[in-house]
């Protein structure tokens, strides 16, 4: 990602980092990597410490009251930022696509829409900033990208993530068959319908084995944990890492589901 030097602005954009529950609890290194990328892109990054859940599990489970309550907390916490960036397609989609529908009948409708317009998934935000990030991020190896469903179909991320990956020195991008097929994670789905979820993630892992990348990456930690868990159970050597880690050039943390000794 060695492009033009960071654009100097009078007012660098103030970005609120929406960490997401999974990154906060399971893999903080993704959030650190995200901050590194955003700062390299000339942003001022703040991390509100009162943030919790975006309400996605409640929304998808039909608990619209809780979804509305949680979404409005995020909304109030992050409203004053120029941008809100999340290293997750599904959390960003919750805030960007679904949140306004929860307020469509209320007086906050216009506010919600304005807020949603400023929410970005990390790679979409980097594309939005058009190559202002300047990072040292070489990685020599074969990398495959898994299109998370929310990112692909709710946010329309398109080829952006792959184009960002291709700016990394030494990285060889490989495609897996049916890359945008769901991996079977689906939040609570993975434990409510374990047999179906397992069949789905097995198909994904078979496609991965055929493509044989060194690393599988993506923008969705839930998917990566699901796939990594299955790969590890079946003894596959393919490592899983969040796209922020690769873009930030920081792979010091063992891959997802892997111990230090593994690498």
């Amino acid at each position: 990602m060695k492009k033009a030097p960071p654009h100097v602005e009078h007012h660098p954009p103030h970005v609120g980092l929406y960490v997401t529950c999974l990154v906060d609890i399971m893999r903080p290194s993704v959030a650190f990597a995200t901050i590194k990328i955003l700062e390299a892109a000339g942003c001022r990054v703040s991390v509100p410490d009162t943030q919790t859940c975006c309400g996605q599990p409640a929304f998808n489970s039909g608990d619209l009251k809780s979804a509305r309550a949680l979404a409005s907390t995020v909304f109030n916490t992050f409203e004053h930022f120029d941008y809100v960036v999340a290293p997750s397609g599904s959390c960003a989609a919750m805030l960007k696509v679904h949140l306004p529908t929860l307020f469509s009948d209320s007086e906050d409708k216009a506010r919600a829409t304005r807020f949603a317009d400023r929410v970005f998934e990390l790679t979409a935000f980097l594309v939005h900033l058009t190559g202002r990030a300047q990072l040292e991020n070489a990685y020599v190896g074969r990398v495959a990208y898994h299109d998370g469903c929310s990112g692909k179909r709710e946010l329309g991320l398109g080829e952006g993530p792959r184009q960002l990956l291709q700016t990394i020195d030494g990285l060889e991008l490989v495609e897996i068959a049916d890359a945008d097929a769901c991996c079977g994670f689906g939040g609570t789905f993975s434990v409510t319908y374990p047999e179906i979820s397992n069949a789905m993630v097995s198909k994904k892992c078979n496609a991965l084995t055929d493509a044989a990348p060194d690393i599988l990456t993506g923008s969705e930690l839930g998917c990566l944990m699901n796939i990594a868990g299955k790969l590890r159970r079946s003894g596959s050597p393919i490592a899983c890492r969040h796209i922020a880690e690769l873009l930030a050039g920081d792979t010091s943390m063992p891959a997802i589901g892997s111990a230090k000794e593994d690498r």
């Binding site: 919790t52 469903c149 049916d178 047999e195 179906i196 699901n226 943390m253 589901g257």
Partner: protein
């Protein structure tokens, strides 16, 4: 067809581990999915067609009464008899009466999802009529006593071997040593047997893909030609259809037909697309003497008034099934009723009831492929979420509801949440990098390892890092 939608959970579990079924369903990806992709690549204006298709369906449903009345008037002018049926039982009774009046001995039938929905075959057979399904897939299922597992490929769950075994067992007057070694020979045997049925049938029953208000025509689309033979050779043609099939004009029908063929089988046009308008004319050389059209409601007029009205836009192409990771894993029978896959999960709670179908909208990752491929852009994930919301509001308590409520309660309290997150982050740490088992997550760890956490939450680490950088 008797609904068994409440068995989804155990049926899908079994289906996901059924090797034969998995092999059969694998063909969907190389067949329908690949052919649709090619057909769309070959049609530069497909996206424009989809927008037109969605608009045609939405506008028609918004003014359905007018279009139905216009259809009725034109169809009667062409000599068709129109019958209105409020329920499936009413529709079956009407068909039975027509067959009785026609003194029918034998009945041939083209594939029709509405007739499956209302249980027409069972009704007619119970009334003493011999009904032969003429679509090859449906015929195989009839011989096996099974129900369709796909909207357009009813026997997709069967292997070539199973088809062969069915014919050897059922056609027991034929030489048991005959050659049925290829799909061609199996099809050839069905063709020969079916030809007799067609030539001797008194009544032919078909469904309709569309009803055209402008002309009073019923459109029937098949690749085999069985619908046309059923509609042309017997002296009575009965069309069993539903009120959502009406399209205002010929031109608008042409848009929907292009979407249907490409989305369903990946053809520019299906082999046989026929507009049937009334019985034979006095100068015609063939065709039935009478044409009856039964317009079935069976709950649809109530759906029209609900927030699920968009499901009525469906043109039954089956693309959402072929592209659904759940359907392609569990097959159609897991869904327990006529309409499987995403459209079934959105439609069945409306046509049946939510209590017995609640698993169908729940069993989805909301991955959105269905909406992405829908030729008329039905927002299926939105509809599934709506059913989930209704089910959530309907249920007093359930384990999942309690879990969501507990989660939401805590997430509304940042301090408590941060504390809880720290505890979990610590608990999920492992020097092995992953856990083989995790309490309360058996569903996950039966099949997968659970990746370990880093041990401390990001928020805790960030607070410390900031303190270090800027000591106060």
């Amino acid at each position: 067809m008797h609904p068994e939608t409440h068995h989804f959970s155990e049926r899908s579990k079994r289906a996901a581990q059924d090797k034969d079924l998995q092999d059969a369903l694998e063909g969907l990806a190389t067949g329908f999915v690949a052919r649709r992709k090619d057909a769309i690549a070959d049609c530069a204006h497909f996206e424009a067609l989809r927008n037109q298709g969605r608009d045609i369906r939405t506008r028609t449903c918004a003014d359905l009464e007018r279009h139905l009345l216009s259809f009725e008037a034109k169809a009667e002018q062409a000599g068709s008899r129109i019958h209105w049926a409020e329920t499936g039982d009413d529709a079956c009774a009407i068909v039975e009466k027509i067959c009785r009046d026609a003194e029918a001995q034998s009945i041939v039938k083209g594939k029709s999802m509405v007739s499956e929905e209302i249980g027409l075959n069972a009704h007619l057979e119970a009334s003493g009529y011999a009904v032969v399904e003429t679509d090859l897939g449906e015929y195989l299922l009839q011989l096996r006593g099974e129900t369709p597992s796909h909207i357009i490929a009813p026997a997709i769950h069967l292997s070539e071997h199973q088809a062969r075994a069915t014919f050897l067992k059922s056609h027991d007057t034929l030489n048991p040593k005959r050659d049925l070694g290829t799909p061609e020979t199996i099809v050839g045997e069905a063709r020969a047997l079916m030809r007799d049925k067609f030539l001797n049938a008194d009544v032919g029953i078909t469904g309709a893909n569309f009803l055209i208000a402008e002309t009073g025509s019923a459109v029937v689309v098949t690749n085999e030609g069985n619908g046309d033979l059923s509609a042309t050779l017997p002296k009575v043609h009965i069309i069993v259809t539903s009120l959502d099939k009406v399209v205002p004009t010929l031109g608008e029908t042409s848009i929907l037909l292009q979407l249907l063929a490409r989305s369903a089988t990946g053809q520019a046009m299906t082999a046989y697309t026929t507009l049937f308008t009334g019985p034979r004319h006095s100068t015609d050389l063939d065709g039935p003497d009478a044409c009856h059209i039964i317009i079935v409601d069976n709950g649809r007029s109530d759906i029209l008034a609900s927030d699920a009205a968009e499901v009525l836009n469906c043109i039954r192409c089956g693309a959402c099934l072929n592209h659904c990771p759940i359907y392609t894993t569990v097959g159609g029978h897991s869904y327990g009723w006529v309409y499987p896959g995403p459209i079934g999960a959105a439609l069945n709670p409306a046509l049946l009831d939510l209590a017995s179908t609640r698993d169908l909208p729940d069993a989805s990752t909301l991955c959105g492929r269905c909406e992405e491929v829908c030729p008329v852009k039905i927002p299926l994930p939105k509809l599934l979420r709506q059913w989930r919301a209704k089910d959530y509001a309907r249920r007093q308590t359930s384990r999942k509801k309690l879990a969501i409520m507990a989660w939401a309660w805590m997430a509304k309290r940042p301090t408590l949440y941060a504390l809880w997150a720290s505890v979990i982050a610590r608990a999920l740490k492992s020097r092995h990098g992953a856990h083989h088992t995790v309490p309360l997550a058996k569903g996950w760890t039966t099949h997968r390892d659970f990746p370990a956490s880093e041990g401390q939450t990001f928020q805790a680490q960030w607070r410390r890092a900031k303190k270090k950088a800027r000591p106060s």
